[in-house]
């Protein structure tokens, strides 16, 4: 890792190429590829989101389907089983209400159909509940059916009782009719005869015989009238007692009837013997019908007892139904709770699914953002940074740098361009360097002598006045040496120009070696003549230097046959002056020349000085 400065200026950590495969791949991605990768990832992510939501909605649908397919039928089974049980129990009441065979058949039919109706919902219900509850329900059902069987038997018994009652009632009515036949007309006779008697008694002459007979007959009939009334009352009471709704009412009726019978019996004893004999059989019959086991009252009591028993059974049925209700309500509650839980589960999983979806979406978006942010920052911007830095370095003239990677993408192509730029810049700098060298040389060439490398005459002419001025300002002494090779023309003639040139070069080399101060200048003055400018130097110094030069050249031992000493020598004229306004550089050169002339004159291979110049102003 290296630290780069991002575009924002903050420091970010980025991976450099070559660290790992994926990073290498990522860091090498171009803009288009980056965006393609980003969009591709987004598309994949969208697909993931879509599939996630599809999967969750499918899951939710499955859960809803589960409720609809399993929980609801179970709930409905509980309800319909309870209702069917209720209906079955209700048939018990209709069984107890039957009064004829047809009604009984209809009621039994209802029971049967209610039993059939119960079968399916009960079977459905039993499948879905645990054994204990199922056993309880089956137990209750069996108890109910047993009660219904009892009730059916009781219904049969009641019908038989009703038929028997009908017969008994018929017998009673016949008996009462017999009484009516025996009594009605006698009562009417009594009434009629009494009226006749009343009329006869109003006659002016009373028909005593007729009155006597009538009175006897009528008075004998009087108990019959009462007896008739009593029998009528007994009959009416009996008939109404046979409809008594409760045992208590029936008992009261029985007491009343029994009392009335006693009264009627005593009345009957007062009825004339012959009529009483006739009536006695009917009266006995009536008493029999009242008191006999098969009598109307007894039958009615049995019916009431039967009804009470049936009522108990029906109440028992109601209790069973209450227990069924409790059981099915418990089941129902459980089912409802299951539905509730399933609903909660559903809500939870739907919430979870939503959260998951949101999370996936959030993560996806964050991932995308991170991808674009980090990737763009880490790789694209790093690459751009490096490209820019490289460009800046190149522009700054630093070429020894690591160049950005080249490639086929946009940044790679930009890298190519940087490489190209780098190359071009490198070539340009090389060319410039060569040009500078060339220029330097040209400059050298313009101020130096091409053969000896010393400054040329032009240079000497430039430097001397400059040095003159400087020395003048500094009021310092400066000197000039004029050096001439002795017998150089003969040398050239003898040894050739090339040797002459070589000779000059060697002499120049000596000068170079001796004139080392930067302010000093050694120059080829022309031909075999050299000149030296010595700044801040008086004539003594100049003599010393001149002598050293002469000796050194002599010591070069360049063979010169035409010289008296056999080797190449030089004559040196030295002049020194402290420049003033009255003098000029030319003066100094003339003095040096005069000195040289003097050296030549005095035998060559020597140093001569021009003393004239040493005088002040």
């Amino acid at each position: 890792m290296r630290r780069f400065r991002g575009l924002s200026g903050r420091q970010v950590n980025v991976s450099l190429p070559g660290k790992s495969g994926v990073r290498a791949l990522l860091s090498g991605l171009g803009i288009r590829a980056s965006f393609m990768l980003g969009l591709g990832a987004m598309a994949v992510f969208m697909l993931v989101v879509v599939f996630t939501s599809l999967a969750t909605s499918a899951g939710l649908l499955r859960d809803v389907g589960n409720i609809v397919d399993e929980q609801l039928p179970a709930t409905l089974a509980s309800l319909s089983a309870a209702r069917a049980m209720d209906r079955l129990a209700a048939t018990g009441s209709s069984l107890m209400a039957v009064r004829s065979v047809a009604e009984r058949d209809a009621a039994v039919q209802r029971v049967t159909s209610a039993q059939l109706d119960l079968q399916q919902p009960l079977t459905e219900l039993l499948q879905g509940i645990e054994e204990e509850a199922a056993d309880e329900l089956i137990g209750l059902r069996d108890e109910l059916q047993q009660n219904l069987t009892f009730l059916q038997h009781m219904a049969d018994e009641r019908i038989a009782l009703i038929e028997a009652k009908q017969q008994a009632r018929g017998l009673l009515l016949a008996n009462l009719q017999s009484f009516q036949q025996q009594l009605t007309y006698r009562v009417r006779i009594l009434e009629g005869d009494s009226d006749v008697l009343r009329l006869l008694l109003t006659r002016p002459t009373l028909p005593m015989a007729q009155i006597t007979t009538l009175t006897a007959e009528t008075s004998a009939l009087i108990p019959i009238s009462r007896f008739y009334a009593e029998i009528e009352a007994i009959g009416g009471r009996l008939l109404s007692a046979s409809q008594d709704p409760a045992l208590s009412a029936l008992e009261l009726s029985e007491q009343v009837i029994s009392h009335s019978l006693n009264l009627a019996d005593s009345t009957l004893s007062r009825v004339p013997q012959d009529i009483a004999l006739e009536l006695r059989q009917y009266f006995d019959q009536l008493q029999d019908q009242i008191e006999a086991d098969e009598g109307l009252l007894s039958l009615h009591r049995r019916e009431l007892l039967l009804l009470a028993q049936g009522e108990l059974l029906n109440q028992n049925n109601q209790q069973i139904i209450a227990r069924v209700d409790v059981a099915t309500t418990a089941l129902l509650n459980r089912e409802l709770m299951a539905i509730d839980q399933a609903g909660d589960q559903l809500a939870l999983s739907s919430q979870n699914a939503l959260s998951l979806l949101l999370l996936v979406t959030f993560l996806g978006i964050v991932g995308m953002a991170a991808y674009f942010y980090l990737h763009v920052r880490s790789h694209l911007i790093v690459r751009l940074d490096r490209l820019s830095q490289s460009m800046q370095m190149i522009v700054a003239g630093k070429y020894d740098i690591e160049l950005p990677a080249r490639g086929a993408d946009e940044l790679g192509r930009l890298g190519n361009a940087v490489h190209q730029f780098h190359k071009v810049a490198l070539e340009a700098i090389q060319r410039e360097s060569e040009l500078q060298k060339l220029n330097k040389r040209l400059e050298q060439l313009s101020i130096s002598d091409s053969l000896t490398g010393l400054a040329n005459r032009r240079r000497f002419d430039e430097v001397l006045p400059a040095e003159w001025s400087r020395a003048a300002r500094a009021r310092q002494s400066m000197a000039v040496l004029m050096i001439d090779v002795d017998y150089f023309k003969p040398f050239n003639d003898r040894y050739g120009h090339q040797a002459g040139d070589e000779c000059l070069k060697q002499i120049a080399a000596v000068l170079k070696g001796r004139i080392t101060r930067p302010s000093d200048l050694a120059a080829r003055y022309g031909g075999e003549e050299f000149s030296v400018v010595l700044a801040h130097c008086n004539i003594d110094g100049a003599n010393v230097i001149a002598e050293q030069i002469r000796q050194e050249i002599e010591s070069l031992q360049i063979k010169h046959a035409d010289s008296q000493v056999g080797v190449v020598t030089v004559s040196i004229g030295a002049a020194a002056i402290t420049p003033s306004s009255q003098s000029s550089a030319d003066e100094l050169i003339r003095c040096a020349d005069q000195a040289l002339y003097k050296a030549k004159e005095t035998g060559r291979n020597r140093v001569a000085e021009n003393l004239e110049m040493m005088l002040p102003g």
Binding site: A174, Q181, T184, Y185, R188, I189, G192, D195, V196, L214
Partner: protein, 375 residues
């Protein structure tokens, strides 16, 4: 009608009611329904109906008709109007081909319109109320005379025996009494006779002395009495006790034990109309087979047995003639020509009333407790 017949053997009644032949559910069979009081106070009439019909079917057919078996069912209306109404509703649910019944006029009147509506032929052997054949039902016939015929006969009797005397009429508010007396008064008026006094009283009164005094004060020679057996008995008894100076002429209600018991000796000599004694009137040759068949049913050929027999005979003959079981076809066939029956040759008018060669009612008189033809 107030034909209260004594009931003696109720156990027997029940046995009979339970001994009804099991209903044959064969849809191919011809269904003849006998309807009347099979239990209760008038059960004897139902017994007579049943015996007569069975005797007729046994005698006149091989228990088939038009190649189809005849099924006879017996139904009880207890001579009560409301029961008859509900019974008729039940019957038309699975309509029989013919109904022989009902007995009491009120029940016949209540049920007949429903049978007619369902095109069921109905023949009543014993309903005498005038209105029955005045309902405009063409498929309803009766084997007995109309009540108003008794009134006309009474008028004839009064005109013949008391034409020049003062005539009183004693009646009660019931339909039977009013109808008979009205037809008698009308017939008398036609003969130019007007009753001296018409007294109307209430039934089951304690005494009829006031009415008797009224007749005596009106100085009537004869009273036409039409009422219930017991009321008639009291009136006759009291008239006799106060030695009322008038004769009494009456109707068929006097044929009742209770009248005899109440009136006692006073009953003797009172003439009254009563349905003709077919067995006595008709040639024995005509009734021999029927009487034998009725006796074979354990019954004596009394009361309505022969009339029920004749009713079945009329229907069988009608079916034979029409070759159909459609009520309208049979009714037309019955009217088309005289029928030879145990009642002798008979015809039916458009209303469904029978016409016999002899009067439908005869005059009788009580003599020492016996009903004998009046001269």
């Amino acid at each position: 009608m107030k034909r209260q017949i004594c009931i003696l053997l109720l156990l027997f009644t029940l046995a009979v009611a339970q001994a009804q032949p099991p209903e044959n559910d064969n849809n191919d069979s011809i269904h003849l329904a006998v309807v009347g009081p099979m239990v209760g106070t008038s059960f004897a009439i139902g017994m007579q109906f049943r015996a007569g019909v069975h005797a007729a079917i046994n005698t006149l057919t091989d228990s088939t008709l038009l190649g189809r078996p005849i099924r006879i069912s017996v139904h009880d209306d207890q001579c009560i109007r409301s029961i008859a109404e509900s019974l008729s509703q039940d019957l038309v649910q699975n309509p029989p081909d013919v109904i022989i019944g009902h007995s009491c006029s009120a029940t016949t009147k209540a049920a007949a319109p429903r049978y007619a509506e369902h095109q069921i032929l109905q023949i009543t052997p014993s309903s005498t109320a005038t209105g029955i054949t005045e309902m405009g039902i063409s498929t309803l016939f009766r084997m007995i005379g109309r009540d108003n015929v008794q009134g006309q006969m009474a008028a004839d009797w009064l005109a013949r025996h008391h034409g020049d005397q003062r005539i009183g009429v004693f009646r009660f508010p019931g339909e039977y009494s009013m109808e008979l007396t009205r037809s008698a008064i009308n017939a008398l008026a036609e003969a130019g006779i007007e009753p001296a006094i018409i007294v109307q009283s209430s039934a089951s009164a304690i005494s009829y002395l006031d009415e008797i005094v009224q007749f005596m004060e009106a100085d009537v020679d004869v009273v036409y009495l039409v009422g219930g057996a017991l009321d008639s008995g009291v009136f006759v008894r009291q008239s006799h006790q106060v030695a009322a100076p008038y004769d009494i002429v009456s109707s068929d209600t006097l044929v009742a034990a209770i009248f005899m018991e109440t009136a006692g000796a006073a009953a003797d000599g009172v003439p009254f109309t009563f349905p003709a004694d077919v067995a006595a009137i008709v040639d024995k040759d005509l009734t021999r087979d029927a009487v034998a068949a009725i006796r074979a049913q354990g019954m004596t050929p009394e009361g309505y047995t022969l009339l029920a027999y004749a009713a079945a005979q009329v229907w069988v003959e009608g079916v034979h003639r029409a070759q159909s079981l459609q009520a309208a076809d049979i009714a037309a066939a019955i009217r088309s020509a005289p029928l030879e029956t145990v009642l002798g040759p008979i015809t039916f008018d458009d209303k469904g009333d029978i016409r016999t060669e002899y009067a439908p009612f005869s005059w009788f008189v009580w003599q020492a407790g016996q009903r004998v033809p009046a001269r």
